[in-house]
């Protein structure tokens, strides 16, 4: 479904990604893991057009994403839950969700998608009129994921959904990701919480210092001594 090949990207003269190639098949959940500053967020931002690509290709079902204007990328079926959630804090939960279905072709399905998001997160329905910025971190994460789901995406990009949340909430977030995956949605997720995320996804890539270090199925990576030492503290 999503095919990234030979991607180079960075800020100004600083290059953050070197020749990255990853692939996400339909229905799969794939993780990108690696230490802080390895370029994981940069990869997500490059895919959704938040930062320019120096060279390389990003193919989404036959469409070249790097040549698509940033505001049209969501229309290809790519929805991005950004790092730090990035809700509109002084808008209600429902207005935040409304922004998720802003593009004209999504508006007709607004009520249907809203119902779906509320069935996934009943808490959001209770808080529909509350200002998003006044909710707890876990609730804000639900709202951010809900906002991305409003466009009925084919693939959901999630950037560190568990960051900054209390341990008990982190568990809930991973349960949620499992739930979303079981809905048949394709997921590409960036996480620091390696142990947890490998339990949820099918495959994972490891990025270090902007380069692809290794990739494999979750069980392969969980069994690899290198991964155990560097990421699982074993």
């Amino acid at each position: 479904m999503l095919n990234v090949s030979g991607l180079n990207a960075g800020y100004g003269s600083f290059q953050a990604l070197f020749n990255i190639s990853i692939k996400v098949n339909a229905g799969e959940a794939v993780a990108v893991i690696g230490p802080n500053g390895a370029g994981k967020t940069t990869l997500m931002r490059a895919i959704s057009g938040l930062m320019p690509v120096k060279s390389g290709n990003i193919d989404m079902e036959g469409t070249e994403v790097t040549k698509t204007p940033p505001h049209d990328i969501v229309k290809l079926g790519i929805a991005h839950v950004p790092e730090h959630r990035r809700l509109f804090p002084r808008m209600s939960v429902e207005d935040n969700l409304r922004m998720g279905s802003y593009a004209p072709q999504f508006r007709a399905n607004f009520n249907k998608r809203l119902e779906f998001v509320y069935s996934l997160f009943p808490r959001m329905q209770e808080r529909r009129n509350q200002l998003a910025g006044t909710m707890s971190g876990g609730e804000q994460q639900m709202c951010a994921i809900g906002r991305a789901l409003m466009s009925d995406p084919k693939i959901l990009l999630m950037d560190e959904p568990s960051a900054g949340l209390a341990p008990v909430i982190v568990q809930q977030v991973f349960d949620l990701i499992k739930k979303i995956k079981n809905e048949g949605l394709t997921v590409l997720i960036v996480e620091q919480n390696v142990k947890q995320v490998l339990k949820v996804v099918d495959r994972a890539y490891i990025i270090e210092a902007g380069s692809l270090k290794m990739g494999g199925t979750s069980s392969e990576l969980l069994g690899s001594s290198e991964v155990q030492k560097a990421y699982l503290g074993m």
Binding site: S48, G49, L50, P69, P70, H71, D72, I73, V74, K75, A79, H80, P82, R86, F88, P89, R90, M91, D95, R98, M99, G100, Y102, A103, F106, R107, A148, S151
Partner: protein, 295 residues
């Protein structure tokens, strides 16, 4: 003291308060457009009142010189001001969108002189009056309120309510509120920020044109009319907390009441002195504006 109390409870003081309210309506409308542009694009249009002036001239020209009926003239004035707003963003602000705020400020300041100069070349410096008089409404035998002011007040109120509904109920309105809170991720929502900026600038310009429609009924048109309203509009926006529409709305009425009350006890010029002194003191007490959000 007795004299002062007498004047306070006089029927003319009540008339003054009402006139202040009517003036506040127009100032509120003027500030709403400037506030909208600042809230969304984060640029203060120093030349905002000059767009009002351009609208006034067009209405005057169409109605007075070409003999076109006042209503179509006004609609043309609103549309043209919207176009001027659109062009202001397209040709000037869009090129400076990532520049330092001072550069943007100076550029819109330059536009102020451009519009003034252009108006002088085309229309000269004479004061022109539409000569429209709709008479007055006699509330009782002592209180008279100008119909022009009453109608202006009603229209201002309607537009402010309509704008509020637009911002709170529509997709576009939601995007306009959202973009001021997080510009970068708007593209993730499928929003083309460049287009939204142009649209906001056009709406802001059209609101200036609407202000022009109301002002042209009450005031002479001349190339420097913007100076009578520009600083006040800007100060009202600052007083209400720049970008805060509700704050600007309330500040418009505080300001207009200070002007008319000052004018009641002394000359009208003293009314402006009183209002500006209040503003200066407030800048020391609450520099972020009366109704600024805690950030």
């Amino acid at each position: 003291m007795a004299e002062f109390l007498d004047s306070l409870f006089s029927i003319f003081f009540i008339e003054t308060l009402m006139n202040g309210l009517l003036l506040g309506g127009i100032l509120a409308l003027l500030s709403v457009g400037l506030n909208l542009i600042f809230g969304v694009i984060d640029v203060v249009w120093i030349c905002y009142a000059e767009i009002i002036m351009v609208g006034m001239y067009l209405i005057f020209y169409l109605n007075n010189d070409l003999g076109i009926h006042i209503i179509p003239s006004m609609i043309a004035g609103i549309l043209f001001s919207g176009l001027v707003g659109w062009l202001t963003h397209k040709l000037v602000i869009a090129k400076l969108i990532d520049a330092a705020p001072i550069n943007q400020l100076i550029a819109t300041g330059g536009l102020l002189f451009f519009f003034q100069g252009a108006a002088m070349i085309v229309f000269g410096i004479e004061f022109r009056n539409m000569g429209v008089s709709l008479g007055s409404l006699a509330v009782n035998e002592d209180i008279y309120l100008s119909w022009t002011r009453l109608i202006s007040f009603a229209i201002s109120g309607l537009i402010v309510v309509a704008l509020y509904l637009f911002l709170s109920r529509s997709y576009l309105g939601a995007a306009i509120r959202a973009i001021s809170q997080d510009k970068e991720i708007m593209s993730l929502m499928g929003v083309d920020t460049k287009k939204l900026y142009l649209l906001t600038s056009a709406i802001g310009g059209a609101l200036a044109g609407l202000g022009g429609c109301l002002l042209v009924l009450q005031y002479d048109v001349h190339p420097f009319i913007g100076l009578s309203f520009g600083p006040i509009t800007f100060i009202i926006c600052v007083m209400g907390g720049l970008g805060n529409m509700v704050g600007g709305f309330i500040a418009a009425f505080i300001f207009s009441e200070l002007i008319t009350i000052g004018g009641y006890f002394a000359e009208i010029e003293w009314g402006y002195v009183l209002a500006f002194v209040f503003f200066i003191i407030m800048m020391f007490v609450r520099p972020e504006g009366l109704f600024a959000r805690k950030s």
